[in-house]
């Protein structure tokens, strides 16, 4: 025990003396959260809209007012000629242009109806699509309210609600995903690098020639990272709550337990990587390419799994992050208990055992 504590102490000394490690450990999570929260956002906010009103009557002016009072759009200017649309887009001053046809109000009262044209700058296809959908929604709402008093037979009023994320907040999506990503990155990357560092600097040779058992070496190297990663996971939850108002509806204890399980899994993956990587650089590339990319792309963090080709869906099933994200979303957003996530937990547990066994089996007690 004394031996083990000595090892853990030494490991903490390494961590707190290396600025690079500290930055990755504590800077990365915060940078990532801010990045995803404010920069890589999928939410619509302050989209510049140009208006080309060819009728300038009461109806078109009211519709314009509705658009800008929705909170999603800001005016980028009023156009008078068709050529100005291109200019506006090229100069980047507007993402969308709304065109009201001439005689808008008059046509509104006819059977054929009035026409509005939405022109979007699709060089950024995702936000163009989103802006278009939102604009349509705003306009539909407005014109429906105009018709409220008129009794149209057989009409259907569709009310939709987005459960667990009523306001379509991006933070609800990315906080669980980020937790999965950051924990995987820190645990696997840091452990694989720190173990290969001992190999690269030759200190592993001395550790091996000592009476330390393999499990003492591995546990000693990993324990500090378990503690620090756990601190990290909790930081993300707290930051998500304070800055982006992502709630923890379910049990915080259950969430912590699941985090510990996932951290253990990621650490054993890191140890496994270190058994085959000879240098820190190789370990880093293996962790980044082999773990981070698939975690981002295949875990359902950014791209929905249901839309993937079948083959990639199978691949996503072996991504630990996929199951962890499901668990975290369930606990944080839906507030479900263990009864609804035991299957995912079991999968993670199985993966963890597999990686630990493989890592211990592959860990060499000699140099060759």
């Amino acid at each position: 025990m004394n031996r083990f504590l000595g090892f853990v102490k030494k490991e903490f000394q390494h961590i707190f003396r290396d600025v690079r490690t500290l930055v990755i450990l504590f800077g990365l999570p915060i940078v990532m959260i801010v990045l995803f929260g404010y920069v890589v956002t999928t939410e619509i906010r302050d989209v510049e809209v140009g208006i080309w009103d060819r009728s300038m009557d009461q109806a078109s002016i009211r519709a314009t007012q509705k658009i800008f009072s929705s909170g999603y759009f800001v005016p980028a200017g009023y156009l008078e000629r068709e050529e100005e649309i291109g200019e506006l887009f090229r100069s980047g001053r507007a993402k969308v242009v709304v065109v009201f046809e001439a005689g808008f109000q008059k046509h509104l009262q006819t059977e054929k109806g009035a026409a509005i044209k939405l022109i979007t700058d699709a060089s950024d296809a995702n936000s163009a699509q989103l802006a278009q959908t939102y604009l349509q929604g705003v306009l539909m709402n407005y014109f429906q309210s105009l018709n409220q008093n008129i009794n149209v037979p057989w009409s259907v009023n569709l009310h939709s609600r987005m459960f667990y994320n009523e306001e379509m907040k991006g933070a609800y999506m990315f906080v669980p995903g980020l937790m999965a990503l950051i924990l995987m990155l820190i645990c696997a990357l840091m452990t694989s690098v720190t173990i290969t560092r001992e190999k690269e600097f030759g200190t592993m040779e001395l550790l091996l020639a000592s009476p330390l058992k393999p499990r003492e070496i591995i546990l000693g190297k990993v324990t500090p990272y378990v503690l620090l990663s756990f601190v990290n996971a909790m930081t993300i939850v707290v930051l998500g709550n304070l800055v982006f108002h992502v709630p923890v509806v379910g049990s915080i204890w259950l969430l912590m337990l699941e985090c510990m399980l996932y951290i253990t899994l990621a650490l054993s993956l890191g140890v496994l990587i270190s058994t085959s990587a000879k240098t820190q650089q190789v370990a880093m590339v293996m962790s980044l390419l082999g773990l981070m990319l698939p975690t981002i792309l295949l875990s359902g963090f950014i791209f929905p799994i249901d839309n993937m080709p079948k083959v990639l869906q199978w691949f996503s099933a072996i991504m630990p992050a996929r199951w962890f994200i499901v668990i975290v979303k369930n606990i944080m957003l839906k507030g479900t208990g263990f009864a609804f996530i035991w299957k995912e937990t079991l999968i993670l547990l199985g993966m963890t055992l597999f990686f630990i066994l493989a890592a211990v089996k592959r860990f060499k007690i000699r140099l060759q």
């Binding site: 004394n2 504590l5 390494h14 009476p211 007690i365 000699r366």
Partner: protein, 304 residues
């Protein structure tokens, strides 16, 4: 017997690192292994330290097989690898405390054993190991290898890259450690250090060639040895001497040539040839061979 190597063979992918190495080291002995880079010294030491498995042959450390009983072996040896292998980002005392704990002991418990070594670096005990000079690093590494009071100390080129004064200090310390009854096996590329050992072995291309005490190694040569020196440099004469019938081996030794002859009678032939070269500063004389000469000679025989 402290250490027994019995017909050890070891190959890596393309090279045979050790060929049929046999060696016995007595308890309490200071044994030196001498050979150039790539001779197989480190491989041999790693086998002794239970870090490599020999392809064939057996190695026992105080009766414990280094392959099967590697756990026991790791308890009783102190190993200092050829490359500085302590933690550069830990201070002197932190490194020492760490290794003490790894071996389940404390610095206090065995302080008397390392006092001589550690006292010299104690003024710098708060300094990071990475910031020590070469000689200090080696003293710290030796302290760490000794801290658990091993019964056999395995030192792989502990004085390489260390200045001459520190080297001498280091060997003085080894002598003291030997006085504590600890067996020491040490390798070195420096010939002059061999004379500090009780016995030495010469190793070249994986062959352990001769084992004897340093003095007998020096005069073990039966061929007579001569040196040739010149103010104008002797390199030009190297090939000419090598072509000569009576010369057995010729090699560069510092700024002179050393020559062994096939028989004592050949000396006349060489001397007359030298006179023909008409170089007044040429100086030809008979000398007493050193270990290095003996070693070079053995190497030459190996090549033929």
């Amino acid at each position: 017997m402290s250490l027994i190597l019995d017909h050890i063979d070891k190959s890596f992918e393309t090279v045979q690192a050790l060929r049929q190495v046999n060696l016995e080291v007595q308890e309490g002995e200071l044994f030196g292994l001498i050979g150039p880079d790539g001779a197989g010294k480190s491989t041999l030491f790693r086998i002794m330290a239970s870090l490599l498995i020999p392809d064939s042959g057996r190695c026992t450390m105080l009766g414990h097989d280094v392959v099967k009983e590697y756990r026991e072996v790791r308890q009783i040896i102190g190993y200092m690898p050829g490359r500085f292998s302590l933690y550069m980002d830990l201070s002197v005392e932190e490194n020492l405390a760490f290794y003490a704990r790894v071996f389940g002991t404390t610095v206090k418990e065995n302080y008397d054993l390392i006092r001589d070594v550690y006292d010299q670096i104690a003024p710098f005990r708060k300094r990071l190991a990475g910031k020590l000079s070469g000689g200090m690093k080696q003293k710290l590494a030796l302290s760490c290898a000794l801290i658990h009071r091993p019964r056999v100390l395995i030192l792989d080129e502990p004085t390489t890259g260390v200045d001459a004064v520190s080297r001498r200090e280091f060997w003085d310390m080894l002598k003291k450690i030997q006085g504590e009854g600890i067996t020491i096996v040490v390798s070195t590329p420096y010939m002059d250090e061999a004379e500090m050992c009780d016995r030495v072995g010469l190793i070249q291309k994986g062959n352990l060639m001769a084992i004897s005490d340093p003095a007998s190694l020096a005069d073990g040569s039966d061929a007579r040895l001569f040196s040739l020196r010149s103010n104008k440099g002797v390199y030009a004469y190297l090939d000419q001497l090598r072509k000569m019938e009576g010369c057995r081996h010729v090699w560069l030794f510092g700024d002179e040539l050393h020559v062994t002859l096939r028989s004592a009678a050949d000396v006349n032939q060489v001397q007359s040839a030298i006179r023909e070269w008409a170089d007044d500063s040429l100086e030809w004389k008979s000398i007493v061979p050193t270990i290095e000469d003996r070693f070079m000679e053995l190497l030459k025989e190996e090549e033929i």
